[in-house]
């Protein structure tokens, strides 16, 4: 059984790294989480993004949620905001696609063109 003692360990471990996270000015990854997003499968997408953040220890990445963006037919939608760059909107994202977006775009800076709204609308 998970114990509060384990939580105490996590607290100690986290306190050592938390200062790095505090002033994060890095990438923002936003997942649409309204009725439309949730029904289309946004929850596993968000979970997959969080897993990548944890696995790769991405201290400067902020993961956030937003309501309905108004393009329900394209949900699940993920937006990536990198400082100094234009926002990139990914559409019909799955957990697997999110993995690629995190690895290629968020970590290496290469936009995954084929998943963007521009590619979808062609």
């Amino acid at each position: 059984m998970k114990s509060l003692k384990e939580l105490e360990e996590i607290r100690k471990k986290t306190l050592e790294t938390i200062n790095i996270r505090k002033d994060r000015t890095g990438t923002r990854v936003v997942v649409g989480m309204a009725t439309c997003g949730i029904a289309a499968g946004a929850r596993p997408v968000l979970m997959s993004i969080m897993d990548e953040v944890k696995k790769n220890n991405l201290a400067d990445v902020v993961v956030a949620q937003t309501g309905c963006i108004g393009m329900c037919r394209f949900e699940p939608i993920v937006e990536v905001y990198k400082p100094g760059e234009e926002k990139v909107t990914y559409v019909k994202v799955t957990a697997a696609k999110a993995l690629r977006i995190m690895n290629e775009h968020v970590m290496q800076g290469k936009v995954v063109d084929e998943y963007t709204i521009g590619a979808e609308e062609k």
Binding site: R11, T14, M50, K54, G67, G70
Partner: protein, 184 residues
């Protein structure tokens, strides 16, 4: 929605939008009486009686960007499909309580789904809100209270910290699995 847990994730967003800082989710599975009930209770801004009646209409929403709001109507439809119902009690400036019921064994009742991920999502999206999640199956009860977790973590470590989130998800999965006698 494919899971009841997804409905819960969706409807809890209403509580968040209502400015609640404490949201209580209670799932009561009475196999004996063949009833499953889901209660979402918040201390948000609440609604007056006329507004609380109207939210079941898909063409009523508080947002201004669009004219439809499907969260509650979808849950209502899911309940009615399963010989259940949905009721909303609300008081202005006090809070709202939503109760959804289902016939537990109804063939059209969606599975409970992944509550650990639902709670995880809610925590990521709302750093300053506390959640109490109670899950009852007949006599057995599981409870998660983020206020207790915060106490252990102290003020510096947020609930949305990936390691903490993982702990919470595992805690829920283990707790629910114990409730079901070791079966997930």
């Amino acid at each position: 929605m494919k899971e009841l847990a997804l409905h819960i994730l969706d409807l809890a967003q209403n509580s968040i939008t209502a400015g609640a800082d404490l949201i209580k989710l209670t799932i009561n599975e009475s196999l004996k009486n063949d009833i499953l009930s889901i209660t979402i209770e918040d201390n948000g801004c609440g609604m007056d009686v006329t507004q609380a009646e109207k939210v079941k209409d898909p063409f009523v929403t508080s947002r201004t960007s669009r004219k439809v709001g499907l969260g509650i109507p979808l849950m209502l439809a899911a309940c009615q499909r399963c010989e259940g119902n949905l009721s909303i009690e609300s008081q202005k400036n006090v809070g709202t309580k939503l109760i959804a019921t289902f016939k537990h064994s109804h063939i059209d009742r969606a599975p409970m789904g992944n509550m650990a991920e639902t709670i995880g999502c809610l925590i990521i999206g709302s750093e300053n809100i506390d959640f109490v999640y109670v899950h009852i199956i007949d006599q057995e009860e599981f409870c998660l209270d983020t206020r207790e977790i915060r106490q252990t973590l102290g003020a510096e470590v947020p609930l949305s910290e990936p390691d903490v989130l993982d702990w919470i998800k595992n805690y829920i999965n283990e707790g629910l699995s114990n409730l079901r006698g070791g079966v997930i």
